[in-house]
């Protein structure tokens, strides 16, 4: 790019400011609304700072006040059992991440290093599954889970993602292919078995890409909506995204409980912010690989 000076630079900075405002303002507005008392929403819809800020909406939404008080505060009596759904999301995402990454890594290693009949064909079939739209497999998977009587169980929710995704196998195989063979060769000469090599050499060497894949997998399963909606509606296993959807559909149609909705939404954003603050740099760096979603 040609060097930019003077007015060009101001224009650039201005553009960045505009980008930041467009990106961040909605988040601010959600929190501002969540802190505004329900009845005030309609009278001061545009006040920049929350008018009469209060935590009432959070109390309502977390179910910390009884139904009557909730209605008096201007809400509809709905509540979001936030911590339960947070726990469920954590359970689901963690289980999926651990198992999917692990099993995919095992397979990726086999594809990368071992020669066995039909190896390339099998890998090709795995990758070709990427071309199939999710919904084609979703309906029969739903039927399968119903027939196995696994609906409304954690197992039912995690099952399709527990073992592998074509992307995960592809991604890790790429990485394993690039690992220097000498270490493995040396170990083989020492008499080490493949399995031991995998655990003691390959895994430590690939901690970077394993972490990357884990982050990707975790975020994708955290954000998943349709599948957990279909097989995990009961409160015991309901995840955060589904809970928000149900919360939204229960809001009175004529006058939605905006402050309650925004309180719930802002709560759901918090875990992601935490994840982001802890792993931000890694997430940014792993961007190039996330494209498949």
């Amino acid at each position: 790019m040609a060097a930019v000076h003077g007015s060009g630079k101001i224009l650039l900075r201005l553009t960045i400011l505009v980008i930041l405002i467009i990106t961040l303002f909605p988040f601010y507005w959600v929190v501002r609304t969540a802190l505004t008392p329900s009845k005030v929403i309609f009278t001061s819809p545009s006040a920049f700072w929350p008018p009469n800020p209060t935590f009432d909406n959070y109390l309502r939404v977390l179910g910390l006040v009884d139904a009557e008080t909730s209605v008096r505060m201007g809400g509809s009596g709905q509540s979001l059992n936030f911590f339960l759904f947070l726990r469920n999301s954590l359970i689901v995402s963690t289980i999926i991440t651990i198992f999917q990454v692990f099993f995919s890594a095992l397979a990726a290693y086999a594809f990368a290093r071992l020669k066995f009949p039909l190896r390339n064909q099998l890998f090709g079939i795995y990758v070709s599954a990427l071309a199939v739209p999710g919904i084609v497999m979703l309906i029969p998977n739903f039927v399968l889970i119903q027939q196995l009587k696994l609906q409304n169980t954690f197992l039912g929710i995690v099952a399709p993602s527990l073992f592998m995704t074509p992307f995960a196998v592809f991604f890790l195989r790429q990485f394993f292919l690039g690992i220097n063979k000498e270490l493995e060769e040396a170990a083989l000469i020492e008499g080490a078995g493949r399995i031991r090599i995998f655990f003691q050499i390959i895994l430590p060497l690939s901690s970077g890409s394993i972490t990357t894949l884990s982050i990707i997998t975790f975020i994708n399963s955290w954000n998943d909506y349709l599948w957990p909606l279909l097989v995990g509606k009961s409160e015991q296993v309901r995840v955060l995204t589904v809970a928000l959807g149900i919360f939204r559909s229960q809001t009175p149609q004529g006058a939605p409980d905006w402050s309650g909705l925004m309180a719930g939404t802002s709560l759901a954003i918090i875990p992601i912010i935490i994840l982001f603050v802890s792993f931000g740099k890694k997430i940014i760096n792993s961007l190039g690989y996330m494209g498949f979603r």
Binding site: A2, I19, I41, A110, A129, I139, L287
Partner: protein
């Protein structure tokens, strides 16, 4: 072992090595791939095949399935809702992808010129980290015709509000915008990463040749970005065709079918009407359409490949 290897001549050793690295210990290999194979068979291969079979039946999950041959497909092509879904989804993709890609490109260039910090890049990524459900709710509030801040501002200027999500005319463009908002930062960072791969020398050479910034952009930057842009556009289009969450949380296919995109149409047929056969038939057609679109895109993108 090491003593033996010291004695054995090198040829023998390398042959043994070759045998070892690419060993045909088949059973270990199959053991390693077994979990993934189970998963793939059960949740990828089986459902795809089963879906095809179900599409030839009439089945509501409560009474036994009835074989009906191609009648679901025949019904599909006569169903105005199906054609509406095509129209709505294509319209959505057209509103979504070009603008998103253009914005991403602009942002990437801007960031490139100003040497953005990690914090900046992180903040731009924030919308993309959020579930679609959260993003949808956020914008549902912002565009509310009565008290949403956008319309408060619009009303102050023009006197009447714009029913973004409740009018058939504005609904799809609004949903497209919501997804643009969610993806533009992330897409920009992808393009930005692509920009980094362009060596500075190329720009220097261009400026030595007296190229203006505009010429540099169109003749140098853009062609060199082609692989990244192709990747971004192709994957975005495929994802765009399958939009669901945003529609489900905001408009539920309305107002009056204006946002009944493919996936939502399928969802309604399968999980509100419990017409499993019909729904799977539609999903198979979507599959075919997507394959066609991808092939078309790859052709178009490659046609100009001049590297």
């Amino acid at each position: 072992m090491s003593q033996i290897s010291a004695v054995v001549p090198e040829v023998e050793q390398s042959r043994r090595l070759k045998r070892s690295i690419y060993s045909s210990d088949n059973w270990i290999a199959y053991l390693l791939i077994l979990p993934s194979l189970v998963g793939f068979a059960l949740f990828y291969a089986l459902p795809t095949i089963r879906g095809l079979f179900i599409s030839f039946t009439d089945w509501n999950l409560l009474t036994p399935a009835k074989y009906v041959g191609l009648s679901n497909y025949k019904e599909l092509f006569r169903d105005p809702d199906f054609w509406n879904a095509i129209k709505v989804t294509v319209s959505y993709v057209l509103w979504n992808i070009p603008l998103q890609t253009a914005l991403a490109l602009v942002f990437a260039l801007v960031m490139n010129a100003v040497a953005g910090s990690n914090l900046l890049r992180g903040l731009m990524l924030l919308p993309w980290l959020m579930p679609n459900v959260v993003v949808g709710l956020l914008w549902l509030w912002l565009v509310d015709p009565n008290v949403g801040i956008l319309n408060v501002a619009i009303k102050a200027i023009s006197g009447s509000s714009i029913p973004f999500l409740s009018s058939p005319k504005y609904a799809i463009p609004t949903i497209a915008w919501i997804n643009i908002w969610r993806h533009m930062g992330y897409t920009a960072l992808l393009v930005f990463a692509g920009l980094q791969t362009i060596p500075k020398e190329v720009y220097e050479a261009a400026s030595i040749d007296g190229a203006s910034s505009r010429q540099t952009f169109f003749r140098v930057t853009l062609p060199l970005l082609r692989p990244v842009l192709t990747f971004v556009i192709v994957t975005s289009v495929i994802g765009s065709f399958q939009v669901f969450d945003t529609v489900a949380i905001t408009t539920k296919g309305g107002p009056i079918n204006a946002t009944k995109v493919f996936n939502y149409f399928i969802y309604q047929q399968a999980f509100e009407r419990f017409r499993m056969g019909y729904a799977t038939a539609i999903s198979i057609i979507l599959f075919v359409i997507l394959v066609g679109v991808s092939i078309l895109q790859m052709r178009l993108m490659r046609a100009g490949e001049v590297d």
